[in-house]
Amino acid sequence: MNKYNETLIACEHCDLLQVKQPLQLGQIATCPRCGSRLYFNSICSPMSMLALTLTALILLLPANLYPLLSMTMIGSTETASLLQATLKIFHEGNYFVALLIFICSTIAPFLMLLSLCCASFIISFNIQTQWLKKLLKWTDFLTHWSMLEVYLVSFLVALIKLVDLADIELGVGLVCFSLLMIINSLILSFFDASSYWQKVPIDAIS
């Protein structure tokens, strides 16, 4: 059984060891050696985080299923939703590309929001469960692969490429997707993993 010390913190990036200081609401502790963020006192409680993640999860459905844009060209109209765009690549036989796009634009954001939502729920209502550890690990892992902001910029690039070719009409999906991206960025900047981990009980016998 390893000894542990919850009053100490080691920097994730440079391993500098320091004593944790209490922070005021909204304050951020940064590493004096490498400048990375160590921990912070988020203005967003787990209950507010629950609200934010639920909103994002609700938006995720129309953002994926409703058309981002419709394009009229040579007399016929094509619409494209996020999911359709991925499926089309899949049907063309580019399975690897399709899978990557699917993971980064749909699956990773969805699972990341879902696990953070469940974790916030567990902490808000003080539920004792072994799942909290897993959920927090998944959240951390999936954050790296969730690329909503990149997708939105890509959409703008595609839009400018297409605008000369045909008549473009923007869809409901785009509104939902933009909102989703904004809320997702808020969630990422408000989420302090260390305060969530503190809620995980440390077993006397492991």
Binding site: N2, A10, V97, K137, L162, I202
Partner: protein
């Protein structure tokens, strides 16, 4: 200033709890196996980088999209797409695509290679500079996905059967591999190795 390693402590890689270090032991909070540094971090990073190096050639020289208009196939590589954008007057977008698809992957491979070499040869350079360089490489890497997302939208929208179709080319798969491999390379690199050199070289911040 003391690092956790020098104090015989280790930060849990998963949950950040500071524990005393023993070989093959587990974190008392999240049960993850404790390792002082990521196992074989440098070897793994090199392996991903070298593989990415191989894939970057087909990614740039094979067609990433193929435009089929009334039976005529026009293959487009990343570079010819950028040139087409400049010719059509959208230089701003051309720069975004050029930076995200060509400059970033190459700069990432060269930058990571430089960091790894300077670490293994113990070149005396500012740790802070090296770290800022890595942070930038790490952050900018995800933007390489841009071109793939653009392709997926274009392919979905431009589909007029016999008249006009865009299909992704073999270059797209190679490009996707480069993006994934460079992301994995950055993820498997343990930045703490850079700072471990500090006391050896007697660097004062």
């Amino acid at each position: 200033m003391q690092s956790a390693k020098d104090a015989g402590l280790v930060r849990c890689g998963e949950c950040a709890l500071v524990c005393s270090f023993q070989e093959n032991s587990q974190c008392p909070r999240c049960n993850a196996t404790l390792t002082m540094r990521q196992t074989n971090s440098l070897q793994k990073t090199w392996a991903y980088l070298i593989t990415a190096c191989i894939f970057i050639f087909p990614a740039n020289f094979m067609p990433i999209t193929i435009l089929i208009s009334q039976g005529n196939e026009t293959p487009d590589t990343i570079m010819s797409g950028v040139i087409a954008l400049i010719n059509s007057g959208s230089a701003g977008i051309a720069i975004i695509v050029f930076v995200a698809s060509i400059v970033v992957p190459i700069a990432k491979i060269l930058g990571m290679g430089f960091i790894l070499l300077s670490l293994q040869l113990q070149l005396s350079m500012s740790h802070k500079m090296r770290f800022i360089m890595f942070k930038f490489i790490d952050w900018v890497g995800r933007w390489s996905m841009l071109d793939l997302f653009v392709i997926s939208i274009m392919v979905a929208v431009i589909d007029k059967g016999q008249l006009l179709v865009i299909v992704p080319g073999p270059g797209a798969t190679a490009f996707a591999s480069v993006v994934v491999l460079t992301l994995l390379a950055a993820k498997s690199f343990d930045t703490r190795l850079m700072w471990d050199l500090e006391k050896d070289n007697d660097w004062t911040n």
